[in-house]
Amino acid sequence: MAHVVFKNVFKYFDNNMVVNNFNFEVKDKEFVVIVGPSGCGKSTTLRMVAGLESISDGEIRIGDRVINDVSPKDRDIAMVFQNYALYPHMDVYKNMAFGLKLRNVPADEIARRVQRAAEILGIEELLQRKPKQLSGGQRQRVAVGRAIVREPAVFLFDEPLSNLDAKLRVQMRAEIKKLHERLRTTMMYVTHDQVEAMTMGDRIVILKDGVLQQAGAPLDVYRYPENIFVAGFIGSPSMNLLPVTVSENMVLCGSSRISVQGVIERIFDLSTTSGYRLGIRPEDFVISKSGNADPDTAEIRGIVELIETTGSETLIHFNSNGIYLVAKLGSDLEIPSDNNISLNFPLKKIHMFDDSTEKSVRRKL
């Protein structure tokens, strides 16, 4: 059983609190992605599991063992680093065998394990090469291979794909996910890329300033962000967040009025009328059709300011009475020549946050 439990974990550098009372359990065989902006403490959290940083307070357990004072080599973990950290003076075989050799694993066992890892990763041909003779993707495979041969209880990945180009990153992302399915080992993966987090993790953990913001299955986090930070961080482009006041059947946002037909009160448990933020994901907008009178959708009008086309989709940046919003729409789009646009969004998909606490407003449904 290789679950990893964080209990009231704190980390200080000098007097700066980098990780603040982190409580979480990575279940056995689970793939957990820790995501957050730079400086949020995600790498530090991983490094505390690896033993590369001391734990200022609290405890971390791997399996049933508290590992606070266990040396890194005895923690039964393996780690993959962002810049690969391959030993430049050793060939691929020696790089992969290094950790086993230090543990006095018999040579034939080392050979067997390296061969197996090389097969899994498709790098059998590269075993005699030095790291400098490898491409970025190959180096990353070797770095993963070095972790695999150790057959650890927990794999730790510290932004392993950040240095790869976009195409290779997508490919390696899938390979690491497949590797997890094949090895069925507990994995903790740190990234700042929310797409990586969404696509790879069984669960994702979002950190900000060392504080856990939300943890859950990727789609749950996407659908039900617990606070404004998570709402803005997960999803690309970010969720539109408008300061609003709620009045009967209307949401007032600056000088805009959005008819909501009482739906908001039905969905959300609103205690007051003002001090809210209304969240709408860019992808929830659709172009209004004339004669639309669906009571479950609302309409918003604006003037298009910028159009970004990626081929498969179009991002419309528009201004609705001084409030800037982004909508993500399909590629076959015709913008009226006067740039006036009218968009609909389903009221069931909106999010409401309390402006003072930044937390999401409780849903009734």
């Binding site: 590369l52 680093f81 810049n83 030993y87 290094f98 180096r139």
Partner: protein, 340 residues
């Protein structure tokens, strides 16, 4: 394109001319040393500048060695002996074949006969003047041990400064750097006193121990180690390396260029050290080469031929050694296992 090629050629030519000029300036003292080591005393002290060793040819006239001159006389060239100098730059010459006839000619217009002559004997004479075999062994022993110790201890200190976190790390490092500001001469007396109190004077310890660490080396290593990614240390730690394991298995193999550079520098420094060995040792059996060379400088005058011969054989091992390490010296270990 063509003009670019020409520009390239011209700049290369200029660079080469400058390099050749520089190397002549650098080489000249060595060539002069070798040339002097093969000259006789008379030739060394003469006021003519000759690169190739020559000696004045003489002949015995009436039991006295007299110099031979190439004399132009009656439209013919003849080797004649200078008998004596006269007033107003004139001199009297005689033909050795016919000593009774003499001619008086202006001395400055005649050319002394100076055939090439190499005084190889300077070398065995110099070698035997002092127990240079012993001096060589002493120097090699002292230089090797102090260089090995210096590389080891300095790189360990630099390893700590580059990879570890500890209180007052930067303050300690700056303090260390500050000690480089002190001139060596200012340290001579305090160091001497320390060694005297340790009863290490006139021992190998006095020659070796003060050079087993060097702030400059610590600084040099630290700067190099800082260019290695910390992730390497982390990866090795996770792989199960101890601190010394990382040092020997990863750090040292990756740091051959600074090890070689500093090794050569400090070996040269140790080989050429003079003042320190001179003041801390008295016994002949502890004497090192440079102190041995000073034997040829005495109140009665300097025996230049022997001194230069001894100087020449004292640098031979260094030159040979340099040719061996030069290739490794310029090779640099590529750091391409890491993301550039």
């Amino acid at each position: 394109m063509a003009s670019l090629k020409w520009e390239n050629r011209i700049s290369k030519t200029i660079i080469h001319v400058m390099l050749i000029f520089g190397s002549i300036i650098m080489l000249f003292p060595f060539l002069w040393m070798i040339s002097t080591s093969l000259k006789g005393n008379e030739s060394i002290l003469s006021d003519s500048i000759e690169m190739i060793p020559r000696d004045q040819k003489t002949t015995l006239i009436d039991g006295v060695e007299r110099p031979l001159y190439e004399v132009s006389f009656n439209n013919e060239q003849k080797e004649m002996v200078l008998l004596r100098s006269l007033n107003e730059g004139m001199a009297e010459f005689i033909d050795p074949a016919n000593p009774d006839e003499s001619v008086v000619l202006p001395l400055t217009k005649q050319k002394p006969v100076r055939p090439m002559s190499f005084h190889w004997q300077n070398y065995p004479d110099a070698w035997n003047a002092q127990p240079f075999g012993r001096y060589f062994l002493n120097t090699i022993f002292v230089a090797s041990v102090s260089v090995l110790c210096q590389l080891f201890f300095s790189s360990l200190a630099a390893y700590a400064f580059a990879f570890f976190r500890f209180p007052f790390k930067n303050a300690i490092f700056i303090f260390l750097l500050g000690t480089m500001m002190l001139p060596q001469q200012a340290l001579l007396v305090p160091n001497y006193v320390i060694l005297a109190k340790l009863h290490w004077l006139d021992t190998y310890l006095a020659l070796i121990v003060p050079f087993t660490a060097s702030v400059y080396s610590v600084f040099f290593f630290r700067q190099f180690f800082l260019t290695l990614p910390r992730d390497l240390h982390d990866a090795a730690t996770v792989d199960g390396c101890s601190h010394m394991g990382f040092y020997f298995r990863v750090l040292v193999p990756l740091s051959l260029p600074p090890f070689l550079t500093l090794g050569i520098f400090s070996f040269l420094g140790s080989w050429n050290a003079f003042i320190w060995p001179l003041i801390v040792t008295n016994s002949t059996h502890l004497r090192v080469l440079q102190v041995g060379l000073a034997y040829f400088l005495s109140d009665a005058g300097t025996e230049w031929g022997l001194l230069m011969a001894a100087s020449t054989f004292s640098i031979v091992p260094l030159v040979i050694g340099y040719f061996f390490v030069q290739k490794r010296f310029v090779q640099s270990q590529a750091m391409t296992g890491l993301k550039e």
